[in-house]
Structure formats: structure tokens, C-alpha cells
């Protein structure tokens, strides 16, 4: 479903931050993307959520070579990808429910339906009481859950999360991973970038590892204490 063939990436005229990346992610799979800070995890995610173009190589998603897709096709592809950003990227001037509703609003869906769906989803992530709150009044964990609700409201085929547990304590991190597990069971392909070894060891998912811009893996999870998601 997601295929990288000999993909490289650079920012501007700088040196390549990703080199000769090759992998296949199957439909409905759940992977961790590991590596130390600066290894290129966020850059790899940017290529997958179509925020950046590769400097060389071929990326195939949704049965289409994305380097050959036009702007309209790329926009349609992006609607099938949910992203949870490390810094949440919520609109502070919008209420929680308006933030969550954005992807459906962009899709042009019926307003009443969006409202009902967004409220249900906020209930699912435990934020029913914060529907009309401003993101400025939320804690880091609450913001994280709003970001997740926004990422999944349009039922994306792929869900990407960049260090989703970086700003929350361990108990919330576990809860988030279980949320991702639920989504995965519903058929969503999930890729989580993290450098949290403890978390990766607790969940038995294959791992792609990035080091100095080069990818290795996928490796199967090898923890003695794996947790079923």
C-alpha cells in the first residue's frame, strides 16, 4: 500500500537527510518508526503525508506514483491520511470541536453530520466536556487527544503520528497507544515515529529503524513484555 523505492530527500540545496529508503507497508499494518533525534523520522513522515517531494526515487501510495500526481490528486490523497503532529498544530482561535471538525469541513460534508460526528469522537477520546473550550485552556494530554480526534475523524486509510507520546506522561502514552490499536483493528494503517524504547517494547509491532538518514527493518517487535493492542 505504501511503497518507497530508492527514495532520497533533501531540504533545498542541502545534503540528503534520507538516502535510498526502501520499504513496503501493507494495508492495515501497525509499525513503529524508531531512531534518535535527527535521524530523519519526521522527514520520512513528511514524505508519506505528502508535505515534501522526494529528491529521487519512487513513492507509491493508493496505487499511484505520488511524484506523478497533480495538485488535485495530491489533495484527495492527503484526505486519506491522518497526521498527529508532535506539536499538535491546533488552531487556537477555534474551539475544540471546530478543530476536530476541520478535515470533514474541508471535504465539504454536511455541517449537521460533521457536528454530530465530531462530538461523538470527542467523547471517544474522553473530551466530551471540552467541546467548546479553546485549545489554549487544555493540558498537553488533552491537546494530544484533540489532535488524534482531528486526525481520525475522516476515517483515514493511513494514520501517522510524530512522537505522539513526547509531551505526555507514561500513563497517557499507554492510553494513546491503545487508541491507535483500536483504530488499527478497524483497518487503519498506522505508523508511529518515536524514540521511546520503553513504549516500543511494550507493544508488539514491527519496527522501521532510521539511522543517519538510512532505513533498516522492518524488524519484528522482540520485547519480553509485549502488550496486546
Amino acid at each position: 500500500m505504501i511503497r518507497f523505492q530508492n527514495v532520497g530527500m533533501r531540504y533545498g540545496l542541502g545534503s540528503e537527510v534520507l538516502r535510498n529508503v526502501n520499504f513496503d507497508l501493507q494495508l492495515g499494518s501497525f509499525h513503529f518508526l524508531s531512531g534518535i533525534s535527527g535521524a530523519g523520522k519526521s522527514s520520512l513522515l513528511k514524505l508519506i503525508y505528502l508535505a515534501h517531494k522526494p529528491s529521487h526515487g519512487q513513492i507509491t501510495m493508493f496505487d499511484r506514483d505520488v511524484t506523478l500526481a497533480n495538485r488535485r490528486e495530491l489533495a484527495v490523497m492527503r484526505r486519506k491520511i491522518g497526521v498527529v503532529f508532535q506539536d499538535f498544530r491546533l488552531f487556537d482561535h477555534l474551539s475544540v470541536i471546530d478543530n476536530v471538525a476541520l478535515p470533514l469541513k474541508i471535504k465539504g460534508e454536511d455541517w449537521d453530520r460533521i457536528k454530530i460526528h465530531a462530538a461523538e469522537l470527542l467523547g471517544w477520546v474522553g473530551l466530551r466536556d471540552c467541546i467548546d473550550a479553546s485549545p489554549l485552556t487544555l493540558s498537553g494530554g488533552q491537546k494530544q487527544r484533540v489532535a488524534i480526534a482531528r486526525a481520525v475523524i475522516s476515517r483515514p486509510e493511513i494514520l501517522l503520528a510524530d512522537e505522539p507520546t513526547g509531551n505526555v506522561d507514561d500513563s497517557i502514552a499507554l492510553r494513546l497507544l491503545r487508541l491507535f490499536g483500536e483504530l488499527n483493528r478497524l483497518g487503519t494503517t498506522i505508523l508511529i515515529a518515536t524514540h521511546n524504547e520503553n513504549l516500543m517494547e511494550r507493544f508488539d509491532h514491527p519496527r522501521l529503524h532510521l539511522a543517519d538518514g538510512e532505513l533498516s527493518g522492518p524488524f519484528l517487535g522482540s520485547s519480553q513484555h509485549t502488550e496486546s493492542t
Partner: protein, 292 residues
């Protein structure tokens, strides 16, 4: 309000707060230029219509007896000339009234030598041969001249056209200034909201979706500024109209606009708002091309 507000907090941009005043100034300048152009065009049309089919004969000043003799010679000649409908000698009082806007009241006495005037109505389709008529009249009463008003009217029309061109140039320059300023304001907004725009883009928003956010904001601000500008224009036009009336009807063209002209003036804020929206759209769309 759920879902109805702008995704981007464009109304918080400091530069956009100036936009209604900018649009108001542009509408005001363009509106005044247009009002001036329209009132001058109307004045020229009135003058043209008023003078069409009329010729004025000027008889050199002299004492009453001499003038009376001259009239007795000239009027029969004129009335028997083919193409002349009527010829009427103007009295001294009438002549003085015509000169009132320039010379004031009480100029009709014998202390100021005034030419005697004959108002001649001629056919507009097949009028008299004015050159031949001038010769005949000057032989009958030396010094008599014919004024068919064309020379002065042509000068006025040339002047009016020059003013019209200047007014059009002002409107075009003002519109150009509006375009340039809107481009800068929009680019400032694009820079301020870069992160938000990128986020919408990554969620699958098409360029048009983002552009509509800017356009909706520009529409509101443009109409607000347009209303202010139109209001100021209307006040100025009415005030100038009163002032022109007080100066004297003969000296200045009237600034009384017709209903159609007021409607044309009301189109200025709408036109400027349309320019603002189109400029905003083009600026946003061209800027978004940098996103993959």
C-alpha cells in the same frame, strides 16, 4: 459559532485592520473623479443642446439711434435668409442679465458700451450659409460678426475630454495602487498564517478552499470600506453642488447628478471590492503554488 468562522484568524492581522480605510480612500478618490467626469460631461451636453440651432449676431456698440438703425437693416436680412427660422434682437436689459455672472448687477447702463445682440434660430439640418451671411451682414452694418458658438463649444469639449482623460487616469492609478496594496496586505497575511495554511493544505484543502478564506475576509472589509468611501463621496458631491449653486449657475457646471449617475457612483465601491477580491484570489493562489 460552530464551523461558520474562518479557519484562519485573518481578522487578527494588524495590516488587515487598515484595509477598510484604504478601500474607503480609494473609493472616495475614484468616486470624486467619476462624479467630476460625469458632471462635466453633463454640462457639455447641456451646453451643446442649448446652443444647437442658434447663432448670435453681434452688432458693434453705438448710441441708441445707431443701434436701432442697424437692427432695422439686419433683422429683415436675417428673416429673409433661407434656413433661418427666427431672428430676435435682445434688449439691453437681457444682455446685461447674460453678463451678470461675470460683471455683476447694474452693468446695463449707458456707461458701459455693450454690443447689441440678435438671437437667431436656424435649421439644424439645412441651415444658412453662415460665411455668405456674415459677408452680407458686415456690408449692411460694418463690424457685425456672427458667432455660431462652435469655436467656444469645441474648446469646451476639448477641455472636458482632457479632464475626462485625467479623471480616467486617476481612477486607473487609484485602482493600481489598490491592487499593489492588496497584494502586500495579502502576502503579509499569507506569511503570518503560513503554519495554518500549510496545515489546511496537509489536511487536503485545495488552493481554492484557502483562497476563499482570504476572499471572504476581503469581501467583508472591502464592503465596509466601500460604504465609508461612498458615504464620504456622497457628502462631498452634495456639498460641492450646494457651493457651486451659491457661486452662480452660469460660471460653474452644475454638480447635480442624475439617478443613473448616482447608481454609477454606487458601483465604484462594488467595483473596488471586486478588484480587492480578485487581487486577493490571484495573490493567494500564486503563493500556494510553492506548497507541494
Amino acid at each position: 459559532m460552530f464551523l461558520r468562522q474562518n479557519d484562519l484568524a485573518l481578522n487578527s492581522d494588524p495590516a488587515r485592520h487598515l484595509m477598510p480605510w484604504l478601500v474607503a480612500m480609494i473609493v472616495y478618490l475614484a468616486g470624486l473623479s467619476l462624479a467630476g467626469m460625469m458632471s462635466l460631461a453633463s454640462a457639455v451636453e447641456r451646453w451643446d443642446n442649448g446652443l444647437k440651432g442658434t447663432v448670435t449676431i453681434q452688432v458693434p456698440p453705438g448710441n441708441s439711434r445707431v443701434s436701432g438703425d442697424a437692427m432695422k437693416k439686419l433683422l429683415p436680412i436675417l428673416r429673409n435668409t433661407p434656413g433661418v427660422i427666427a431672428a430676435r434682437a435682445l434688449g439691453k436689459a437681457e444682455t446685461a442679465t447674460l453678463l451678470e455672472p461675470w460683471l455683476g448687477k447694474g452693468v446695463g447702463g449707458d456707461n458701459l458700451p455693450l454690443p447689441r445682440l440678435i438671437d437667431v434660430k436656424v435649421r439644424t439640418n439645412i441651415g444658412p450659409d453662415l460665411k455668405a451671411l456674415a459677408n452680407i451682414l458686415s456690408v449692411a452694418v460694418p463690424g457685425t460678426v456672427i458667432d455660431d458658438h462652435q469655436k467656444s463649444l469645441n474648446r469646451l469639449i476639448t477641455f472636458a475630454k482632457a479632464v475626462e482623460l485625467v479623471a480616467i487616469a486617476i481612477v486607473l492609478l487609484v485602482a493600481l495602487a489598490a491592487v499593489v496594496t492588496i497584494v502586500f496586505i495579502t502576502r503579509t497575511g499569507l506569511a503570518i498564517h503560513h503554519d495554518g495554511i500549510e496545515l489546511l493544505h496537509l489536511m487536503g484543502a485545495q488552493d481554492g478552499y484557502v483562497s476563499r478564506q482570504f476572499q471572504a475576509e476581503a469581501l467583508g472589509l472591502g464592503l465596509k470600506g466601500g460604504a465609508i468611501g461612498f458615504g464620504l463621496t456622497a457628502i462631498t458631491v452634495v456639498a460641492l453642488s450646494h457651493m457651486a449653486g451659491a457661486v452662480g449657475a452660469g460660471l460653474l457646471p452644475r454638480l447635480n447628478l442624475s439617478l443613473g449617475q448616482w447608481l454609477a457612483l454606487a458601483g465604484v465601491p462594488l467595483g473596488i471590492t471586486a478588484i480587492v477580491m480578485i487581487t486577493t484570489h490571484v495573490t493567494v493562489i500564486s503563493d500556494l503554488k510553492r506548497l507541494p
